[in-house]
Amino acid sequence: MAGPVSDERTAVVLPAEGPLAPPARQGERTLERRRRAVAYLLLTPGTLYLALFFALPLILIIYTSLKSGGLLSGGGFRFTWQWENYTDGLATYGSFYVRSVVYAGIATVACILLAYPMAYWIAFYGGRWKSALFFMILVPFFVSFVIRTVQWRFLLGDFGLIFGPLKDLGLLPQDFRVLATPLAVIAGITYNFLPFTALPLYVALDRIDRSLIEAAKDLYATKTEAFRKVVLPLSFPGLFAAVILTFVPATGDYVNSSVLGGPNTTMIGQIIQTKFLVELRYPEAAALSVVLMVGMLLIALLYAKALGTEDETLAAGAGA
């Protein structure tokens, strides 16, 4: 979701340079025109790509979500403006959206708490090992998402690597378990989305001009104050991106809850997957997907509004 937003921003900024440019002589005007042509040329592949692989499928999904009928006796799906797909879907599965948002919210907070100190330490104290250290965070993500989640089953197994020895030692009751509980699902999401949190945080922290911290200290700020008043506000843009990048995909995730969870941890992604792949009710599944997407978009917009744009955040940070 962050992709299209930032692209839109680029698209707005570049052409705007034209009218705002000062009146120029003939030669400069040609140059200006050429520059604009190049700008459009650079935008074309990305725009086409998004139109083809993002916009078109989106339109298809919305189109499908308004169909009715069935594959068994209904003779296929027909487009009938079937708004009931939305109303019925929300009425039946509203609680699963809530659960997904709650799980993703907790996981996002956990991700920030884990990733911030890590990114901070690497950015400020990593020295010449910075890149190598950061790369180490990313290494596990060269392995498939599903495989990694499945490995967690072995790790968290009732008699697995962690709990097996603890139970043998009598430190845990024999019937203690984490798998098939919300804890396992949230922990799995936290683990799987951690790099999406760490990466923007690291970039933001690494970009901070060290002389600003020096200046703060020169002005008699304690270390804590320097962090609170300089580092933290300057890392807000990274934090903002990290939250969006973690929270949005985590809400729609269904792998963690289906591999690590139980009947009481069902998330909306699982419901959509079941509608598509078990019930073969494509329209209803598409409607639920659209609701999820629009809901996420609204949450992201509200969040952006509350925290302001990147520049405003910086300004707010500077003013604090």
């Binding site: 999904i61 169909k67 068994l72 003779g75 009947p263």
Partner: protein, 433 residues
């Protein structure tokens, strides 16, 4: 398996048994649906893109069907789509290439080339891939597909998306097919399909974790038999399985019976012994010791019990078990239905079916294979002979009258209303409602 050297090194089945870790089909595919979900929803999107209605080049009002002229000259190539690890395999001694001896035999006999692909990991995902082609009336890209009896099967047959088979042109099937493979309830008279392989959904348990051997499905919720949170359920099979446990024949069941089954499943779900419900991946939890007992597929549990020496037992509960069939079908507009049909019938020759069963360990639709494998065991020596003998003697590969009386097919859902009602009764159980 100590006297390995006494067996001829070139024997393909022997090589397979000794050099590869054997894997059951279900084991291979257990996360397949998930990767479809996470990596590419392309097939689903494609399915969404198709316009409403069925149709295309063939008369396909619901219930309509077409039968091609099977006596015409077959085409030069058959494209056969199947599930992974579901056919015999060998390595060519000269080229080192992997091939299927049974398919090669067919190619040699008929001169028709078979392009065999193992692209089916999930009925619904594969169906989603096929759907836009079927709806557009285009060449579906496959001449034979293998689909489990269930919702996708019904959609294919009821919309006229598979060719009707000519009952007069399958001599091997007529002569050799098992009674249970003939005239199944989901395809009366085998109008559209013939079994490839089959299996049972019963109970698998870990003999070291349970307090006494299980005999009924109610044992699954008995804390005196199984430990707390140690029982698994297979979501898709659970409704029919539950009905069978309640003494209901799923094939003739209606909403009242479904509700009774859902209540039984809720009771199981809320029992302290219950752990979770699975789409497919239950075997990992069984081998890891997280599960003491679970609804399971015969092939999976037997594989670990017989070939990996796990302390597992597979049982058909006293009240019975569920039987399912993976069926060969010819999608409509496939260019070579003549060749496809010939190949389908070819697999009903006992010596050909034997080649598959010595590899696959699911229920063969050709009962004569049992005797052939027993004879093969006589000719072999050592561990390989032992494995063959165990295969020939396994009661769940060769169901006898007594066992067959206890297994039932699932309820075929034939209308959208019926399917919706079924889902509204059973899905909430696993959604925690």
């Amino acid at each position: 398996m100590s006297d390995a050297r006494s067996v001829p090194a070139g024997d393909p089945a022997w090589l397979r048994g000794m050099t590869m870790r054997r894997m059951s089909r279900r084991q291979m595919m257990r996360y397949a649906g998930m990767s479809v979900g996470t990596l590419s929803l392309a097939s689903i999107l494609a399915a969404c893109g198709g316009d409403g209605g069925t149709g295309g080049g063939t008369p396909t009002e619901p219930g309509g069907s077409t039968m091609p002229d099977y006596t015409a000259e077959p085409g030069p190539v058959i494209r056969f789509s199947n599930w992974p690890l579901y056919i015999d395999k060998a390595r060519d001694k000269e080229t080192g290439e992997r091939y299927s001896p049974s398919l090669r035999l067919f190619e040699e006999e008929t001169g028709i080339k078979v392009e065999y692909t193992t692209e089916i990991n999930d009925n619904a995902a594969f169906f989603g891939e096929l759907l836009p082609l079927l709806q557009a009336g285009q060449d579906p890209g496959r001449d034979i597909i293998v689909i489990t009896n269930g919702r996708e099967f019904a959609a294919l047959t009821q919309n006229g998306w598979v060719y009707e088979l000519d009952p007069n042109l399958r001599p091997n099937f007529d002569a050799n097919a098992a009674a249970w493979a003939k005239d199944p309830n989901f395809d009366p008279g085998n109008r559209f399909s013939m079994a490839w392989q089959s299996g049972l959904t019963g109970i698998g348990y870990n003999t070291e974790k349970v307090k006494r051997p299980l005999t009924t499905a109610d044992d699954l919720m008995n804390p005196d038999v199984v430990p707390p949170s140690s029982v698994g359920v297979l979501k898709a099979d659970a409704p029919d399985f539950a009905m069978i446990q309640l003494g209901i024949d799923p094939t003739t069941s209606g909403p009242e019976e479904w509700k009774a089954a859902a209540d039984w499943l809720r009771k199981l779900r809320d029992a302290p012994t219950f752990r979770t419900a699975y789409d497919q991946a239950y075997v990992d939890d069984l081998t890891a010791g997280n599960l003491a007992a679970t609804m399971g597929w015969s092939g999976d549990v037997l594989y670990y019990a017989l070939w990996e020496d796990y302390p597992f037992e597979f049982i058909v509960p006293e009240a019975g078990a569920l039987i399912w069939i993976d069926n060969m079908m010819i999608p409509v507009n496939a260019p070579n239905p003549q060749g496809a049909y010939q190949l389908m019938d070819f697999y009903y020759r006992p010596e050909v079916a034997q080649m598959v069963t010595e590899w696959v360990l699911y229920m063969s639709p050709v009962p004569a294979v049992q005797q052939l494998i027993a004879e093969h065991a006589e000719q072999e020596k050592g561990a390989y002979a032992e494995a063959l003998r165990r295969t020939a003697e396994n009661p769940f590969l060769w169901p006898d009258e007594e066992l067959l009386a206890k297994v039932k097919f699932g309820r075929p859902l034939t209308t959208d209303e019926e399917a919706a009602e079924w889902d509204s009764i059973f899905l909430p159980v696993w959604e925690g409602l």
